[in-house]
Symmetry: none
DNA sequence: CATGAATGAGGTTTCATTCAT
DNA sequence: AATGAATGAAACCTCATTCAT
């Protein structure tokens, strides 16, 4: 229904919207707030987008598409369990660096959105995600690379959450590069924070 | 001008409200939904509470009060850095077990609520929280109990987040007791998941 | 979703709404106009009804239900073709007398509403309606009661339309009773307006 | 300040607009819908027309002008009451054949438009119309050509409505020519559908 | 002639809240 | 304690219209 409009303008507006959604939450964000931020009137947004929801949809689906581009490349590289985990974590922090707002939105809203048919791809993605991580961890345990006494499922949850929650405090252009943060994080998760006797 | 009403009824209603807030988010939750769940009409809630916000307030402040009862006891026990971290993590998972809904709400809403004067105590709590954890980690590094090459601030963030995000997947009465989860988590964070050569 | 509310209030409000819909057309009628007429604010209508459309729905379905009560009684009475036509016409003008607004709305909006699933019963009714009238006319021709050279389908359309369009000028409590109007109309359709040589 | 533009393009656009107005109702028709149908953008229509209302105006006034050309010719021909009625009915079905969309719009919208000054000519036309038909019927009764027991006013309404409502089901190029339909209709109205004993 | 983008008024709807009963 | 009905502010969205290009 919505006119094609210029792709650059759309992207600008989506960036603005994503920033506000991430800061205030999707529900708490008014369409007028987004329009204010973009220097136009609320109604004018509807020249570019069908609805507030379709902005959210486009933000999330764009993000997931790019995320899986990166993940699929890592998974196809045949790096072995430890290398794969390292690459996935690093890739994740890079995604946070590039799509901070989208990740923050995803983090806050994915659970209840996944129920709606329109956002069914969120559930799909979550399943694919789980399979990738869980499989790698299990292979690592089987190969003797990771500790045998781990509860793999629990470990998966811890790792998954910690990585993504970082989007809530990460600021692009801050002290640490995504690679540095990934390094620190991997160091903690792989080797622990305790000094080894 | 809310009447005193029976404290048990209040608590029941607050539990109901907390459950719905946790499931749908505070903003997305309508007062009518809470009332439905409680078997009454929306207007009737106002006999018990001043406003939707005051329900949220009571849920969060009750939770934080109990949380700090536990934390303060741990911090006063003089357990040493490693023991303190272990006790804090264990205590945290116990709080999640008892106040799952409140923790989930806190996790999702604290950041933007903290700006409002009414919820200033959230910011205070966060600061106290940071001081406790950060201090313990730093002391641990100084004592040679934790690795010297840690970025303490980054580590703090990772640990803090993972513990609390657990509220989003934890189900009381599930397979693992809070203590077991804490054990697994501490094992990962302290010693790492990698098998030691 | 909407509360049950008192049936009398609902009926009052529906009558008000029907009057305005009939006068201005459904689309051109604002919910605020209805509320004004009812002495309340626009939002308050939503305590009683889900939407503007659901008001329309209830108006039309209530009308059709009562219409078919009358029609079915006539059709079951075994009056013969001429008697059936007379009774159907008379019954129709009685319905116009009792549901003038609903008939006028039906007249104006039925065609495009029938496309929407929600108003599928309009199409059903139209089909049943056609079957009843067309069948009676055909039986009349077969029995020699009606002229053999009639284009039955065309006749059906003329008769059907004239009866219902009357809703647009009929005023209850005017000079003519529904029965008188029916009589005049039947006199024209059955015997013609030309003086017989 | 609408430019003159080519008259053919105007006529094309007006035909398109009339078709959509007739199908969906004037109010429910968006300017964008018309533009879509014409293969242009909504704003572009404003090069040709001042406003949506002015399109409606031009459609209706063009139609009425041509209608009265025909009617006036009939009325000036001195055909006698029965002949005049026959000629008016035939002329009417011819107009429906040529201006189906405009007639349908007129039928649906005339009543409420007539209140606006801009569309005052609709009320004028209606009055002239009534005078022509009513006068002919009355003369027919006085001359003994039509039955003396008719309620002339009621008969006028029936006849007027049936003729014009035909626009809602008539499809140009269908089975029956306008003249055939007029014949059938006149047969019914003048002589009745009942077989004469 | 037409496009692309925006305006601004106004529409339907939602919802926290109030209050007489 | 709770109901039923209403309020009023604010939300999302629509759409006729304008105008620089």
């Amino acid at each position: 229904m919505t006119a094609p409009a210029s792709p650059e303008r759309r992207r600008e507006l989506l960036n603005t919207a994503a920033e506000v959604f991430a800061a205030q939450g999707y529900n708490a964000t008014t369409v007028r707030r987004i329009a204010d931020e973009a220097g136009m009137l609320a109604g004018s947004l509807y020249y570019h987008f069908d609805s507030k929801e379709s902005m959210l949809d486009e933000i999330l689906s764009t993000f997931l598409t790019e995320l899986w581009d990166g993940y699929d490349a890592v998974l196809a590289a045949g790096l072995g369990p430890r290398g794969t985990i390292e690459a996935l974590v690093t890739e994740s922090f890079r995604e946070i660096d590039r799509h901070r707002a989208a990740v923050a939105i995803y983090q806050k809203e994915a659970r209840h959105l996944a129920d709606q048919p329109r956002f069914g791809y969120l559930a799909d993605s979550q399943q694919k995600f789980e399979k990738a991580w869980l499989g790698t961890l299990e292979r690592g345990v089987a190969d003797g690379v990771f500790r045998a006494d781990l509860d793999v499922r629990l470990t998966y949850r811890f790792v998954r959450d910690t990585v993504w929650v970082a989007a809530s405090w990460y600021r692009p252009g801050g002290l640490h590069s995504p690679e540095e943060i990934a390094g620190q994080y991997l160091s903690m998760v792989l080797d622990g924070i305790a000094e080894r006797g």
